[in-house]
């Protein structure tokens, strides 16, 4: 389905995750972050978002454990930055699919 975010029409699934990561930009990230109740994105948020996009582009499976070991963010920081669903919300803001793993 189509959705207009930050003045751009993008393709999203029924949960609001971008279906085409190439349509993403930082304005879209900021708009999704506001919708998700994360508020203004800081450099710390963006570091996570960029890392997620890099990993996704490489086809890596993302888990909360791998994020904590990435050196980009600690587990505690990740939970503080994206309260209420660290991996789900950060993935949504990063314009990548919802993580499918259980870990």
């Amino acid at each position: 389905m189509k959705k207009t975010i930050a003045g751009t029409e993008i393709d999203v699934n029924e949960e609001g995750y971008l279906t085409d990561a190439s349509q993403w930009n930082e304005a879209i990230a900021a708009a999704i972050a506001t919708e998700e109740g994360i508020g203004a994105l800081t450099e710390a948020h963006m570091k996570v978002v960029r890392y997620l996009r890099e990993q996704q582009a490489k086809g890596a499976a993302l888990t909360i454990r791998s994020m904590g070991k990435s050196g980009v963010v600690t587990t505690k920081e990740l939970y503080d930055l994206f309260p209420g669903g660290p991996l789900k919300k950060s993935s949504k803001i990063a314009g990548i699919p919802k993580p499918v793993g259980c870990i």
């Binding site: 909360i64 454990r65 791998s66 904590g68 939970y79 669903g85 660290p86 870990i103």
Partner: protein, 175 residues
């Protein structure tokens, strides 16, 4: 996202862990971590043999139970055997067999990015999940708080655990 009134989300999982084998402990750790990842509060209450997962002496050496474990089957893909039969209990009793089964399982779990027990408890603790030990079971096994790994938040009585679990939307799960 809107949630209909008749479908209130789970707010908190209070999980009681009473078994001390590797296969008895992992499901609780996975459910607790999964809850935190969904923004659900999580508490783990370790009682009876579940304390094996917290005691520094045992927690890095937990084993899969190969004796009297009817669910363990030779057909498990990780064994790569062309037979289907329950794992013979007499075989499970041979020294080293439980260690071998544990080794196989740990290897498969590592592939799925499931951490070892100590790291898993640290992950849950870092995510804001709470880790409690049962006072009665501690007394029974003659354990003190300093015998337990450092992420244990508190030693609680049953009553304190229920108090800790208070609130609409809490689910208590016994494993």
């Amino acid at each position: 996202m809107s949630t209909p009134d008749d479908k209130q989300p789970v707010k908190k999982m209070s999980i009681i862990v009473s078994r001390g084998s590797l296969d008895g402990i992992y499901p609780a750790l996975i459910m607790a971590n999964g809850a935190r990842m969904e923004g659900i509060e999580a508490s783990l209450f370790f009682t009876f043999f579940g304390l094996n997962a917290l005691a520094n002496k045992t927690l890095d050496h937990l084993k899969v139970s190969t004796v009297g474990n009817a669910a363990l089957n030779m057909a498990m893909p990780m064994l790569g055997l062309p037979i289907t039969m329950p794992f013979p209990t007499v075989m499970g009793a041979i020294p080293g067999v439980s260690a071998f089964a544990t080794h196989l399982m740990n290897k498969e779990m590592e592939k799925l990015d499931i951490p070892p027990v100590r790291e898993f408890l640290e992950l849950i603790s870092d995510s804001g999940g709470k880790i409690f030990a049962c006072k009665l079971a501690m007394d029974m096994f003659k354990l003190k708080k300093e015998d337990l790994m450092d992420r244990v938040d508190d030693v609680l009585t049953v009553g304190q655990f229920y108090e800790e679990s208070a609130g609409a939307g809490t689910h208590i799960l016994f494993t």
